[in-house]
């Protein structure tokens, strides 16, 4: 009998078999007979009028079949598309471009080299227009308008919490602190870029779209909504998300390239492939972050926090193409009271248009949770520093008490469970906190700068309960369908889509735990909208909290039916049966039982008369609440006073994601998440000059961490199961990216606080750190 590999088994991954042999099926691996290639002409200007597009030379290039521009698409009314936030995004412009590298025209050719030749041969006459890059300037009266169809550059105002009570707390506070924190624009940079193959079958009017998407079902519905007027209704659209080379949020939106490829396939009748190159990907795809936060805390001299007030400018670029639940234009930013027991809080966010690429997607985090965590965890240190309290002691003092759960935060979230002091204490013990503080003092006396930074974050993931959570009206449940075959093996299909998280391995473990069928006997499939049940996909750490729960519930439905069949086979009363993993037996007579495999066989060969045959179930899981993973991270840095280089000496991460399905995979997720927390803290930023020219259009300018810079992570865990999740799991893929940056910044500020430094913006490049030290006369000169 094969091993069950239920919850807690570090089962080796099923998906590895194809990947380590070079047999994965990524989008660029698809090749269809007669397939054409799409490449895209992009704007060199951040804002310009298109006077004329000259296509003659391109069309004269042997192998170039067509040049598609905005007016071409306008004939079919697909030149614009809705964003996930119900804003409008150009697929191709009719007459004006709004950001550098914006799509201007598509070139269709017989192979990718010829398509690139065609792009080079297209000549466009532009008339440059004034550019708005700075979101604060964009809000000034008389500022150049980014959008002709809007009254101003102000997109929306969103506020949450009790302003009056919060303001009063600030007026009466013994201590207040305030900092401006900028969390720069960054890019997920999955190693695989985005792309698709669109295949229109003119005979039956069916469209098959292989596409790098984290949310295939939602994409199918969006395509149906955009193209319904052309007769392309939803039953004729099949979206297939093949193996995906990393997503991290960047493969949630629909990009213009996808739509152009679909249009091109419909017009030519041939399959069309579009694959971004790295510059397309970095310069034009949705970005993450870009939040300008003014953060304030109020409290007492003894360190007790009372109120929080954040005001934020959110730079969305040319259109609000964020991927947030509809009701939350700033995502779940109102988790920003974090792990602390505030009496009152009030936050405001204003969305702004600028001449930059659109977005506001997550970078490996749930809807703006990183921005929230960064701000509160930084401000906790600012407050502790101001009153001269150790930041660990300060956190312990203000944590929501373990006995207070379920806990309703000042901004209205109901935290399901938590034990914050335990996680912080564990991290402190692992790293030797008290000894480090002594060492720090000794080092400073010798003129050496060392810092210790803490981040005790609380996440909010698993969107979400249908009462509050939808995207374009689609409720954010997710699904699992299980079919148990006559021989006791099974196939399970999901509405989510793995991008490296290992769903084929871990989902099978949940079902194995619930049904006692060995995980090796359970095939997991995702990503094909023709076969998988509807779900909103994989992002925001929602797969385990939502689809994972669906797997457990669908399994339990199967178990209920199995019990009836077992009662029939054993000629016993259902109530007299007991379940042990994989088997029903008669209470008091453990020998008299039927295994799930025997029951499955009977479901097809000998089921009770009057009962439906077969053994299968489907569940669309609507979570009763979100889940709240948390953790405490401690980072130790040494700063080179000659160069400004920050060296992360140690980094301890204690995570509590509830019950761990596969500890090996959980740790792998945390390693990766920490590295994507380290990256924006130290290296990554997409910036623009005053003319809207983007800096960082390749991996020589936009720096991803290599194995050399990446710290060696030390992991610890506590386990506080989610009380409302069927298996007590909470989600873990993003915790570390959310929690890590503040720990690193806090460590650097801690090392420099004796100079009067209270804040530093990320990325903390050597130059930035050196300049900060130099300003305070603290650099070492040769």
């Amino acid at each position: 009998m094969a091993e069950i590999h239920g919850l807690g088994s570090s089962r080796k991954r099923v998906e590895d078999a194809r990947f380590i042999r070079g047999q994965g099926n990524y989008i660029d691996d698809f090749k269809l007979p007669g397939m054409l290639h799409l490449d895209i002409v992009r704007s060199p200007y951040a804002h310009a009028k298109i006077k004329k597009i000259h296509t003659e030379k391109a069309l004269a290039t042997p192998g170039v079949l067509a040049v598609i521009d905005g007016p071409t698409l306008q004939k079919y009314n697909v030149h614009n598309m809705p964003t996930l936030m119900s804003d409008t995004q150009m697929v191709l412009p009719l007459d004006t471009v709004k950001y550098q590298y914006q799509e201007v025209a598509g070139v269709l050719a017989t192979d990718r080299y010829t398509a690139a030749d065609g792009v080079a041969a297209v000549e466009v006459d532009y008339e440059p227009l004034p550019v708005v890059v700075d979101p604060f300037k964009a809000l000034l009266p008389g500022a150049q308008k980014v959008r002709d169809d809007k009254d101003s550059n102000h997109i929306w105002h969103w506020e949450w919490g009790d302003k009056e009570k919060t303001d009063k707390d600030f007026e009466n506070a013994e201590v207040t602190v305030k900092e401006n924190i900028y969390i720069p624009r960054i890019h997920v940079s999955s190693i695989e870029t985005c792309g698709c193959v669109a295949k229109w079958d003119a005979t039956n009017g069916h469209l098959t779209l292989w596409m790098t998407t984290q949310a295939p079902h939602a994409i199918r519905t969006v395509v149906a909504l955009i193209t319904g007027h052309l007769g392309l209704s939803e039953e004729k659209i099949r979206v297939i998300s093949p193996d995906i080379g990393g997503g991290f949020g960047g493969k949630v939106p629909a990009y213009p390239g996808y739509v152009i490829a679909v249009a091109a396939s419909i017009v030519t009748g041939a399959p069309v492939k579009w694959i971004e190159d790295r510059t397309d990907n970095l310069a034009a795809d949705s970005f993450g972050r870009d939040y300008h936060i003014t953060a304030e805390l109020a409290g007492k001299k003894d360190g007790t926090l009372t109120a929080l007030r954040f005001k934020t400018i959110a730079d969305h670029g040319y259109t609000d193409a964020a991927a947030n639940p509809s009701k939350f234009p700033a995502g779940l930013f109102h988790i920003c009271t974090g792990s602390y027991d505030f009496k009152n809080a009030f936050i405001e966010v204003d969305g702004v248009y600028t001449n930059k690429p659109p977005g506001g997607i997550a970078y490996r985090c749930s809807f703006r949770v990183t921005e929230a965590v960064h701000a509160i965890e930084r401000m906790a240190d600012v407050y502790a520093l101001k009153i001269g309290m150790d930041p660990a002691e300060f956190r312990m003092k203000n944590f929501i008490k373990p006995e207070a759960f379920p806990y309703t935060s000042a901004l209205g979230w109901e935290y399901d469970s938590g034990n914050y002091p335990a996680a912080l204490r564990k991290a402190m013990d692992m790293i030797g906190y008290e000894d480090l503080r002594k060492e720090q003092k000794e080092k400073l006396a010798r003129g050496e700068f060392m810092g210790i930074g803490i981040s005790s974050f609380t996440e909010i993931v698993g969107a979400g309960p249908s009462k509050h959570f939808d995207i374009l009206g689609l409720k954010m449940f997710d699904s699992c369908e299980i079919r148990v075959h006559p021989t006791g093996k099974a196939i399970a299909r999901f509405g989510t889509k793995s991008q490296g998280q290992g769903h084929e391995t871990t989902y099978a473990q949940i079902i194995a735990e619930e049904l006692g069928i060995p995980a090796d006997h359970i095939k997991v499939e995702e990503g094909d909208t023709d076969t998988a049940p509807y779900g909103l996909g994989t992002y925001a750490s929602r797969s385990t909290p939502v689809a994972g729960a669906a797997a457990a519930i669908a399994s339990r439905k199967i178990r209920e039916k199995a019990k009836k069949i077992a009662a029939h086979l054993l000629e016993a009363n259902e109530d007299d049966l007991e379940w042990e993993r994989g088997r029903f037996f008669v209470k008091g007579s453990p020998d008299q039982g039927k295994t799930i495999q025997e029951i499955a066989f009977a479901a097809y060969t000998n089921h009770p008369q009057g009962m439906e045959g077969g053994l299968e179930a489907v569940n669309y899981y609507d979570p009763p609440n979100l889940t709240y993973p948390f953790g405490s991270y401690i980072c130790v840095v040494d700063i080179d006073r000659g160069t400004g280089q920050v060296k992360i000496r140690r980094f301890v991460a204690v995570d509590d994601c509830g019950v761990r399905i596969n500890p090996m995979i959980v740790e792998g997720q945390i390693h990766g998440g920490l590295t994507m927390g380290f990256a924006p803290a130290m290296m990554e930023e997409i910036s623009y000059d005053v003319d809207g020219n983007v800096h960082g259009t390749n991996f020589m300018d936009y720096l991803l961490p290599t194995a050399v810079e990446t710290p060696k992570w030390e992991l610890g865990e506590t386990v506080t199961p989610s009380p409302h999740h069927p298996i007590g799991a909470k989600g873990v893929g993003e915790s570390a990216t959310v929690g890590a940056p503040a720990a690193i910044v806090n460590a650097v500020v801690d090392a420099l606080s004796h100079l009067g430094v209270t804040t530093i913006d990320i990325p903390m490049t050597p130059r930035k750190v050196w300049e900060l030290m130099h300003k305070h006369g603290a650099t070492l000169e040769e």
């Binding site: 380590i20 990766g672 390749n698 991803l704």
Partner: protein, 161 residues
Amino acid sequence: MSTHHIQVTINGKVHEADVESRLLLVHLFRENLNMTGTHIGCDTTSCGACTVILDGKPVKSCTVFAVQADGSEIRTVEGLAQDGKLSAIQEGFHEKHGLQCGFCTPGMMMTTSALLEQNPHPTEDEIRHAISGNLCRCTGYMNIVKAVQYAADKMAEKVEV
């Protein structure tokens, strides 16, 4: 655009092709020979997803022309397993959870291959430097380092089979 007749040996098998002078080596594999195990991640020699072994040296095949490889011996991810048996490197990546999305993995394994041929007993620092031309966005490199160590140990027959 001129074309050239080239002959390359890939994973022990001789291939002949007429190629444009501008054809990149990675496209020779992927487009002309339908060997899609070697991936493209950046187009600028930065990410290493396209790493293959050319005459014993790891190269980024997005920055080598196919014609430059004329007459050479090439090894790609498809050649790692022998007679259906995984190599120690492939086994190491699987055993130590050295991959997640799998996109960087072929290049990472080929760099590992070259490293262990030159230095069968690398230290952790040597491993980290050797793979620093290969970007991975998923794993944080910790388990890749362990995978390489596993492979080194296995190749030295330290690991029980």
